[in-house]
């Protein structure tokens, strides 16, 4: 009836920006990033990657509402970098990590195919 369409959980509305940034006015080097149509999958991962960065003072994420698929990531850094730079760096690290993960998975799968030849 008045239920929202299910695809609204993951389809970005027309004209909306995937990521927006709001600077914290009270604390230096702090920003809040909002990523639309994402959830704990990516929020927790970015947080993990951010707090492993030496220039980060604070990094945390939250999903403001369980029915809305948006995550907020708050970052505070020291003077060596800015929140924007650090999140950029983290995303790059994550892509690289997953690429190396994929490569070693394919490698192992190939090896398995040669050794056991269970199928294919």
């Amino acid at each position: 009836m008045n239920a929202p369409d299910r695809f609204e959980l993951f389809v970005l509305p027309d004209g909306a920006k995937k990521v927006t940034m709001v600077r914290d006015t009270k604390i230096p080097n702090a920003s809040m990033f909002t990523i639309l149509k994402e959830d704990h999958t990516i929020g927790n991962l970015i947080r993990m990657q951010l707090i492993a960065d030496q220039d980060i003072i604070f990094a945390g994420y939250r999903m403001p509402h369980p029915l809305e698929h948006n995550v907020n990531i708050r970052i505070q850094t020291n003077n060596n970098t800015t929140p924007l730079e650090s999140i950029q760096k983290s995303m790059e690290c994550l892509s690289r990590e997953f690429t190396s993960l994929e490569n070693s998975f394919i490698e192992q799968v190939q090896k398995k195919r040669n050794v056991a030849d269970q199928y294919i």
Binding site: K18, M21, H40, F98
Partner: protein
């Protein structure tokens, strides 16, 4: 700040144990949370920050067992959020095809139309979803995004033998109706769209009852509805490490062997008890329930050693599901990265 040791871990064994392992005790789980914070161990000279080279060095994947529909492998040297993201993506974001729209032309069975339509949606369809596009909302069906199946079953009583024919409508009665050039999309006979299993009962019929239905399959992801999820289960657990003290010998050793319902322990020739099959351990803690044994048997799990098991519904092979999940994640990263780069300018 100078970090003396970067790869060998924390020098204090107690702290190192806390950092790398989750401990199970009689009263509960200890150190369940991992620490990802870069400065967590700076005071003891360990650099906990992220380093891609170190990650690549420590990272390992090892396949334990594989059949087309079930894959078990170890992933060593990653943090829990990575394992969890992969699990979540496999369950809810890898696309498959499933019956979405059902046009009921005739249904004289006792099963209501809506119940029947729901049952049909749940049948796993064996077809490569990568060959199809997502169907856009409020658009016409095209050969690139829709598969049509027909279900036409009539239950009859054989006049001579009196046997009832088609007593149960099974998934094998779903017949693929190719539209346009769809037949060319699947040149091999075994690639053709069909239900994963032939013997899934759809409904029971009595003589004289007829169903005549057209089903439209669409591509979508598990977040929309679980019928599009490519996995039965995708789960991970941590590698168990069970250490038994030397002091357990003789009768006590036999007692410990008896305690374990999963038969994890073995007695070596020297009389020592070892955990020979730690992977079988279900962490029931039966072996440490007796306080006498709690001091001598240590049950731990390695924090960065994940044992993944991916059980597929059949549309994609387990290994393909994992590869797709990684691809989807990298794509996600790129979208977010791109959007962040726009913020800079």
């Amino acid at each position: 700040m100078v970090n003396k040791s970067t790869t060998n871990g924390v020098s204090d064994p107690n702290l190192e144990n806390k950092r790398t392992k989750v401990t199970l005790t009689n009263s509960g789980v200890e150190n369940a949370r991992g620490t990802y914070y870069n400065g967590a161990y700076t005071s003891v000279g360990y650099d906990n920050s992220f380093n891609l080279d170190r990650f690549k060095e420590n990272f390992k994947i090892n396949i334990l067992s594989e059949t087309p529909n079930e894959l078990v492998f170890e992933m060593i040297g990653v943090d829990a959020p990575i394992a969890n993201a992969l699990r979540r993506i496999m369950i809810s974001e890898v696309p498959t095809m499933a019956i979405e729209k059902v046009y009921i032309i005739n249904n004289t069975s006792i099963l209501q139309d809506e119940v029947l339509a729901h049952r049909l949606g749940m049948i796993p369809i064996k077809v490569d979803p990568r060959k199809f596009n997502f169907k856009l909302p409020n658009k016409e069906y095209t050969a690139e995004d829709t598969l049509i199946f027909q279900l036409k079953v009539k239950c009859e009583k054989d006049a001579i033998t009196g046997k009832i024919i088609n007593e149960t409508a099974l998934s094998k009665h779903l017949v693929w109706v190719p539209t346009q050039d769809q037949e060319d999309m699947f040149p091999n006979e075994e690639d053709r769209p069909r239900p994963m299993e032939d013997d899934i009962p759809i409904m029971k019929l009595r003589p004289g009852q007829v169903i005549d239905i057209q089903c439209y399959c669409e591509k979508n992801i598990g977040r929309e509805h679980i019928k599009w999820s490519p996995v039965c289960t995708a789960s991970y657990r941590l590698q168990p490490v069970i250490t038994v003290d030397k002091s357990i010998k003789g009768d006590k050793a036999n007692e410990l062997l008896q305690k374990c319902p999963k038969n994890v322990f073995d007695i070596e020739e020297s009389g020592r008890v070892v955990a020979a099959r730690p992977l079988d351990c279900t962490m029931c803690r039966e072996c440490i329930r007796d306080p006498e044994f709690e001091e001598n048997v240590k049950i731990e799990r390695v924090r960065d050693h994940f044992i993944f098991s991916i059980e597929s519904t059949g549309a994609l092979k387990s290994r393909e599901i994992f590869q797709e999940a990684i691809k989807i994640f990298i794509e996600k990263c790129n979208i977010v990265e791109e959007s962040i780069n726009k913020l800079v300018n």
